[in-house]
């Protein structure tokens, strides 16, 4: 609300951030695949205190019908925060912010999906923020792209995401809520790491062109790290599945 840089000290005397991280360090990341049984694909992510569920339904029939496209699947995305996910209760009705984020998240995921394979169908991505502590759109993208893959939807690549902030004049990765509120800049970023394509880029705050270039290369490095975690989360799910199949074969 335009009250950035209120002078709260976000860097400790030892040069670390309030939660003890180095500027170029992301928070601990946990991704679990396939925890919502009804969905065709799902994922749960914990990035520090940011906690999010993502579920994918589809490809399935499009309702209402006139929205269907003859040459590709349509992607629909809903980013939603639970009323208890933030300090002051948020009304469950979608806000303007949620409507914008739903759109940019959809546009961040769509380039990775081979939509041409599913004419006249819809792929629905639902995202529920359970607890918000900064970088929720980036965590949503990480979880949603894993959920899409676990739904068996053919993809060109996974989408990894990381935000860059600027606090006390220094560029930092993966901003928390307090760093977003009292820092100078928030720059959410998403890419397909294997294809080196940027699929989401937003900036809220003042940066020079040179700083943007540096911020993008920091975020790219973080995305490659996150990409490995996404892949191993998917592998883990299939190892579990194989075990379950072997168990049932024995009995």
């Amino acid at each position: 609300m335009g009250v950035k840089s209120k002078g709260l000290e976000l860097i400790r005397p030892d040069g670390k951030r309030l939660d003890g991280r180095r500027p170029d360090e992301i928070r601990e990341l946990k991704i679990k695949v396939g925890i919502l049984e009804n969905a065709d694909g799902s994922a749960y992510i914990e990035q520090g205190d940011t906690k999010i569920y993502a579920a994918v339904y589809g490809p399935r029939e499009v309702h209402p019908r006139h929205l269907a496209l003859p040459n590709r699947a349509i992607i629909r995305c809903r980013y939603h925060m639970t009323p208890f996910s933030v300090e002051e209760r948020k009304s469950p009705a979608p806000t303007r912010r949620e409507i914008e984020l739903s759109k940019v998240i959809r546009e961040a995921l769509t380039p990775a999906i081979i939509v041409e394979h599913f004419p006249f169908s819809a792929i629905d991505v639902f995202i529920e923020v359970i607890n918000a502590d900064g970088s929720t759109r980036c965590a949503s993208i990480i979880a949603a792209s894993v959920a899409l893959a676990s739904a068996g939807i053919p993809m060109r690549d996974l989408v990894a995401a990381c935000s860059v902030g600027k606090i006390n004049g220094m560029l930092v990765l993966d901003v928390t809520d307090v760093e977003d509120k009292y820092g100078e800049v928030d720059m959410p970023f998403a890419m397909m790491p294997n294809r080196n394509e940027i699929t989401l880029l937003q900036l809220d705050g003042v940066l020079s062109l040179e700083e943007i270039e540096k911020a993008i290369s920091m975020a790219t490095k973080a995305c490659k790290e996150i990409y490995e975690k996404q892949k191993s989360a998917l592998k883990e799910k299939y190892i579990e599945l194989r075990k379950a199949v072997e168990e049932s074969a024995k009995t």
Binding site: R96, I99, T110, P111, E197, T199, Q202, S208, L209, I216
Partner: protein, 266 residues
């Protein structure tokens, strides 16, 4: 089918450095800005970008500040894509495109600190000026974003707001006879670049928008960037992104001169 053929035609032209409306890749369309065209609005501007037409109006009222910013005025940006502007626009509450446009312009204005919101405080914690910026699309021929942003900026720069008077009982009244300009700090300029195939074009028209892979909208203030929004259903490489931002910066300098001239002459 039609977009496919159109895309082929646009791409063929682009490969020889030309565009469907005869412009070069980095040319803006003709910009026309008409200020204070709405008598009842404190500030207003109508902006033409080629055949795209948008109008912005500034209205003011006295309200209460946000609890986390008791000494700051309030700025609200809203955008409506009216059915008058395009056969594809429907009446009803703003859709995701109109909401995105309003929020991107809002971020640009806010981060550039176009208005010194602290100077809009009347009684700390009690009464502040609310500045309502309403943007309405009137004719959509591509790049409503830049036309709307320019209209919003011009309307803010030209706005003349009445004076707030606090009487001895602490009540706030408005003195409509005494008008003054808003406290302006910086002038932000928004420029959109479209990616079509492997080409980048400035200020896309509607035909180009329909076949574009992605868009990058950047808002500049004093040669720095204060807001970015990547839009569209495909990605951009890092090189394309940086090149787009450099071209956009150049165009922002051009538009800055134009708006300075318009505002200075009135």
């Amino acid at each position: 089918m039609i977009p496919k053929l159109k895309k082929q035609q646009i791409m063929d032209l682009l490969s020889s450095g030309r565009r469907i409306d005869g412009r070069g890749l980095e040319d803006l369309r003709l910009v026309e800005i008409k200020c204070q065209c709405v008598k009842n609005a404190e500030g207003s501007a109508e902006v033409r970008l080629g055949k795209t037409l948008a109008i912005a109006g500034v209205k003011t009222s006295i309200g209460t500040p946000f609890a986390d910013a008791p000494d700051m005025g309030v700025m609200i940006v809203n955008a409506e894509f009216l059915p008058i502007a395009s056969p594809t626009f429907e009446p009803g509450p703003p859709d995701e495109n109109a909401i995105e446009l309003a929020r991107v312009i809002d971020r640009g204005l806010r981060r550039a600190e176009i208005i010194d919101l602290r100077k809009l405080c009347i009684v700390p914690g009690k009464a502040v000026w609310e500045i309502w910026i309403d943007i309405h699309a009137l004719n959509h021929d591509g790049n409503l974003m830049d036309a709307s942003a320019l209209a919003a900026v011009a309307a803010i720069l030209m706005a003349e707001v009445p004076k707030a008077v606090v009487n001895e009982r602490g009540e706030v009244t408005i003195d409509k006879n005494e008008k003054q300009r808003l406290p302006i700090k910086n002038i932000p300029i928004t420029v959109t670049i479209a990616k079509i195939g492997d080409k980048l074009v400035v200020d896309p028209n509607l035909d180009e928008e329909e076949v574009s892979d992605a868009f990058l909208t950047a808002t500049f203030v004093n040669d720095k960037i204060c807001a970015i929004q990547k839009r569209g259903e495909k990605g951009l490489t890092m090189e394309e992104t940086m090149r787009a931002l450099q071209v956009a910066r150049q165009k922002a300098r051009e538009l800055f001169k134009i708006i300075k001239e318009v505002v200075g002459s009135e």
